[in-house]
Every structure is written in structure tokens, then in C-alpha cells.
């Protein structure tokens, strides 16, 4: 087999395509990582347990993958969707019935969103079980909690966009809680005493009205497609950067066992 490989690699055809050979050395393996803009997020060398699915569960990486899937499918969906109450639902019907691969793209977006909520929770569970929030990673755990909240908010704002019964009532139930915010909601403790009314409290700001209506749709759309993803991207950058700065993936070094 090896002889055959050598023979092929020394043939004129092979050389004309690849021009020079690739030596499998540690130096070249390192260059694969540092010379590649996408791969250079990684360190060049890692402890073996970092590749062990039984240790990492792979949930953090899968969360990032799902975020990328959601970005790509989300951009495609934006070509077919107008965030105005007159059009939104009709655009959804059009997408589900007449657009080529429309249902596939929308289904992938929705199921990846649900899956991402699950993988974020499981990633957090793993990080807790291995005590990986302990020094020096305390701050990055906090960044992760913010990312969990952003994931939930992204999912929640996206829930409204189909503009069907499921969407507006789920969002109505969710945002009704804001009425009761202490001090800032018109039904919350000490809210009325501070002059909160249904048309000026924190829920009004969230919805752009006294109930879930067309301004809410636009607000949630901009939040879902632009504002929240940008914030999440910033926090993700910090999260990944801090993993490297805090010494890479956690492992039994320094304190504890060893």
C-alpha cells in the first residue's frame, strides 16, 4: 500500500497538480493551525483528554456550530420575510409552500435554535461537573452565563416572527411578566406609586405598545437579526479568547489531584 502511495505521489500527474509534497512533521502540523485564519483559534497542542468526548461532551463546540448554522439559515430566511404585520404571515405561508427548499431552511433554523438552547444548558452542566469554573476561569463562567441568557433571548425574539397564533400568544405570556417588574412595571410592587401606567412602563418599552402588535414585531425582528447576534458575537469572542488566556481547556493541573 505504501509503495503504491509513493508511486502515485511520484507520478507526473500528481506532481503537476500539487507541485510540492507535504511532509507530515510536527512543524507542518503546527503550521496547519497557526497559518489558517479559522483554525488559529485553537492552540497548536492540547492535552489528550481535550479530544475525549467522554470528558468534553463536545457541547460548547456544537453550540458554536449551531450558531453558525442559525446565522446562515437566518440570512437566507431574511430574503423572504418582511417584518410588518401585513406581510409577515403571508411571507411565512409563501416560504413554507412555494419557495424551493423554503421549508427545509426554516425547519433547520427552528430546530437548530431549539437544539442550541439544549446544548448551551448541557455545556454549562459539563463545565459545572468538572469544576471548570474554578480559578482562573471564574470570569469566563460569568461570560458563559451571559451567553446562555443571550441564547434564550435570541430564541424568544425569534419565536414571535412567524406572526401566527403560537407566536403572539407565547410572546404575550412571556412579556406579561414585565408588567410585574418591581418599581418599573405598572402592576409590580411600588410601580403605581412611582407613576407607572400601562403606557409608560418597562413592558411598554419592550413591546412598543400596550399589547403585542406591529411595533413589537419590528422591535423583536431588529433585536433578533441584528442587535442580539452582534452582542452575542462580542461575548463569544471574549469567551473563546479567555479560554486560551486562562490556560486552555481545564484539566487536573496545578491544584487538586496530581
Amino acid at each position: 500500500m505504501l509503495k503504491l502511495r509513493d508511486k502515485i505521489q511520484q507520478s507526473e500527474i500528481w506532481k503537476s497538480i500539487f507541485r510540492h509534497n507535504y511532509q507530515d512533521t510536527n512543524r507542518n502540523r503546527a503550521l496547519q493551525i497557526v497559518d489558517n485564519v479559522f483554525l488559529h483559534l485553537h492552540p497548536v497542542r492540547i492535552p489528550r483528554h481535550a479530544t475525549n468526548i467522554g470528558f468534553t461532551w463536545g457541547m460548547g463546540g456544537i453550540t458554536f456550530l449551531l450558531f453558525l448554522v442559525l446565522t446562515i439559515t437566518g440570512v437566507i430566511l431574511m430574503f423572504y420575510y418582511r417584518p410588518a404585520a401585513e406581510y409577515a404571515y403571508d411571507d411565512m405561508k409563501y416560504l413554507m409552500n412555494d419557495v424551493a427548499f423554503g421549508p427545509l431552511i426554516r425547519n433547520m433554523h427552528r430546530w437548530a435554535a431549539h437544539a442550541m438552547v439544549i446544548t448551551v444548558m448541557l455545556h454549562m452542566f459539563r463545565v459545572f461537573l468538572t469544576g471548570s469554573y474554578k480559578p482562573p476561569r471564574q470570569f469566563n463562567w460569568g461570560v458563559g452565563v451571559i451567553l446562555l441568557v443571550l441564547t434564550l433571548l435570541l430564541s424568544f425574539t425569534g419565536y414571535l416572527l412567524p406572526w401566527d397564533q403560537l407566536a403572539i400568544w407565547a410572546v404575550t405570556v412571556g412579556t406579561n411578566m414585565a408588567r410585574a417588574t418591581p418599581l418599573l412595571g405598572h402592576e409590580g410592587p411600588f410601580g403605581p406609586q412611582l407613576g407607572m401606567r400601562i403606557d409608560n412602563d418597562v413592558r411598554f418599552v419592550l413591546l412598543g405598545g400596550t399589547q403585542v402588535g406591529p411595533p413589537t414585531l419590528l422591535r423583536f425582528y431588529v433585536g433578533h437579526c441584528i442587535f442580539l447576534p452582534l452582542i452575542a458575537a462580542v461575548f463569544m469572542a471574549v469567551h473563546f479568547w479567555r479560554i486560551r488566556k486562562d490556560g486552555g481547556i481545564s484539566g487536573p493541573t496545578g491544584k487538586g489531584r496530581e
Binding site: 492535552p47 425547519n107 448541557l122 474554578k134 397564533q165 411578566m177
Partner: protein, 294 residues
């Protein structure tokens, strides 16, 4: 029996079935590995700590994981359509109106607490409490490997919060709550006309102290009773401190860390306590004041 299949096979509920399965699997796996590490002198992770090249070892794993996830996602998306119901109609409220599944734990809390606690204060405390974990956990053991013996308390409290008070409430809200947010068994048909008598009483009324006077003004005795119960509950943290302040763990925590930990823990435990009070004794409020009710 039809109903259970309708619930489980609802497209938006499939992730919850998946979540339940994965949480059980990973809880078993995490504890299994922790106990295994505890029995050995050298943890699995320490055994696998020699350095290897990311290319190809890690990149290969990432590539295979990506393929695996994408295959599942594409099949899932081909087989099951995302739901699209009738057009939004603000004048037609569906019964039950449910929040997205990941917020059903919060919606379930609304049964036991007023919205300002269930919808605002407790969610805020969940976020703050999670961020605070690394700063209040002073146990420096168990950093970077699975273990049970070295972190028993931390693991039990986290599992109580995550599995019992988060995941199981989501499951409860999805499969056991029907019209009117009444309790239905998953296999029971949803009767939209079910009438349930309102027999809830306030805690003081269990002790023969009416919350309201006959002229519907607030009974000051009930007010003081409620205040004593609620403030007494939260002073449990102080009492424990006074009794155990010379123990090793409390000395290590110090007063600030201890008070934050005790506050967060008591707030977390208030949910199961209130659930038991409501479900077993029909208690509506523990403390009624003119401004808020707890």
C-alpha cells in the same frame, strides 16, 4: 392515551423529549465518571494529560462532530415541519397559552408566586446566582476533572437547581399542564370546561387568623404573622451562622460570601417549599401586605 402521543409528537415538544433523554444520560455519565475517578489514585483526565497536536487529533474530532450534528439536523428538518398555526389574532386567546418551552419552568413558578417574584425577581436571582457560583465556591478541589467525593455539596445543589427545579418543571409545564393551567395527566384528555373549586387560603388562615377583616381591610395580626414567617425564614441563614461560625467551612467563606450564599440558597429553596405548601395545603400567600404578596 391518544393525548400522550399528541403531546410527545408535537413538533415543538420533540426537543423536550430529547432534552430529558440527554439530561438523564449525561447526569448518569457525569456521576459515573466522578465516582470512577474517586476510586482511582489518578483521575482519567490526569492519565490523558500528555500533549498532542491539534492537527489532526482535535480537528478530526471537530470535523466528525460537525458531520454528525449536521446529518441529524438535516434529517430532522426533512422529516418534521416547524409549526405554523393560523395567523396572529389578538382577540382569540388559545387555552392554554404557553410560553416557549425553555420558559415553562418560569411559567410554572407563576402558580406558586406572584408575577413579580416568579417572572422578575427569581429569574434575576438565577442569573446573578449562576454568575456568583465561582466566587462563592471556595472549595479548590475538583478543578478540571469529574469527581463526586470532593464536591458533594456543590453537585447536589446544582443538580437540585438544574434537574429538579428547571428541567422537571419544563417537563411538568409541557406534559402535565392543560387548559386553565390545570393539572392533567399526560394520557388524560384535556377537558376545557373543567371547573376547579378555589379553595386556596393564606398561611395565617390555617392557624385561624383571617387575612382580611370583615370590612375587607387588612388584618394587622395576619400581617405581622406573615412578616414573622418570611423574615424568620430568611434569618435561618443568620441563625446557622451564629451556631456554626467556628466551623472550618464558614471561616473559609467569610461573612460576605456566606451571606450571599445563604440568601441565594434560601431563595432557591423557597420555590420547593412554596410548591409543597400550595399543593399539599392549598396555601396561596404566606405574607399579605398592601404593596406585595409573598
Amino acid at each position: 392515551m391518544q393525548n400522550i402521543w399528541l403531546l410527545v409528537s408535537k413538533p415543538d415538544n420533540i426537543p423536550i423529549v430529547g432534552l430529558l433523554f440527554l439530561v438523564i444520560l449525561y447526569t448518569w455519565w457525569g456521576f459515573h465518571r466522578g465516582l470512577k475517578n474517586d476510586r482511582q489514585d489518578l483521575s482519567e483526565e490526569a492519565r490523558l494529560s500528555e500533549k498532542i497536536q491539534v492537527w489532526p487529533h482535535l480537528v478530526r474530532v471537530e470535523f466528525l462532530a460537525t458531520l454528525f450534528v449536521m446529518v441529524i439536523l438535516v434529517f430532522w428538518s426533512f422529516l418534521i415541519d416547524a409549526p405554523l398555526e393560523e395567523a396572529a389574532n389578538p382577540t382569540l386567546t388559545p387555552n392554554p397559552s404557553k410560553a416557549p418551552w425553555y420558559f415553562l419552568g418560569l411559567q410554572e413558578m407563576l402558580v406558586y408566586f406572584d408575577p413579580w417574584i416568579a417572572g422578575v425577581v427569581l429569574p434575576t436571582l438565577i442569573i446573578v446566582g449562576l454568575i456568583a457560583i465561582p466566587y462563592i465556591d471556595v472549595n479548590e478541589k475538583g478543578n478540571g476533572y469529574y469527581t463526586y467525593r470532593e464536591r458533594k455539596w456543590a453537585l447536589w445543589i446544582y443538580c437540585l437547581g438544574f434537574i429538579v427545579l428547571w428541567v422537571s418543571l419544563i417537563v411538568l409545564g409541557t406534559f402535565w399542564r392543560g387548559p386553565g393551567w390545570y393539572f392533567f395527566f399526560p394520557w388524560e384528555n384535556w377537558d376545557t370546561h373543567r371547573v376547579v373549586a378555589l379553595t386556596n387560603v393564606d398561611l395565617s388562615e390555617l392557624f385561624g387568623i383571617p387575612t382580611k377583616n370583615p370590612d375587607t381591610s387588612l388584618n394587622p395580626v395576619a400581617f405581622i404573622f406573615g412578616a414573622v414567617v418570611v423574615l424568620g425564614y430568611f434569618s435561618l441563614g443568620l441563625i446557622y451562622w451564629l451556631r456554626k461560625k467556628n466551623s472550618e467551612i464558614l471561616k473559609k467563606l467569610g461573612p460576605v460570601r456566606y451571606s450571599v450564599t445563604a440568601m441565594l440558597f434560601l431563595c432557591m429553596m423557597s420555590l420547593p417549599i412554596k410548591m409543597v405548601l400550595r399543593i399539599a395545603l392549598n396555601v396561596k400567600y404566606v405574607w399579605v401586605t398592601p404593596w406585595f404578596n409573598i
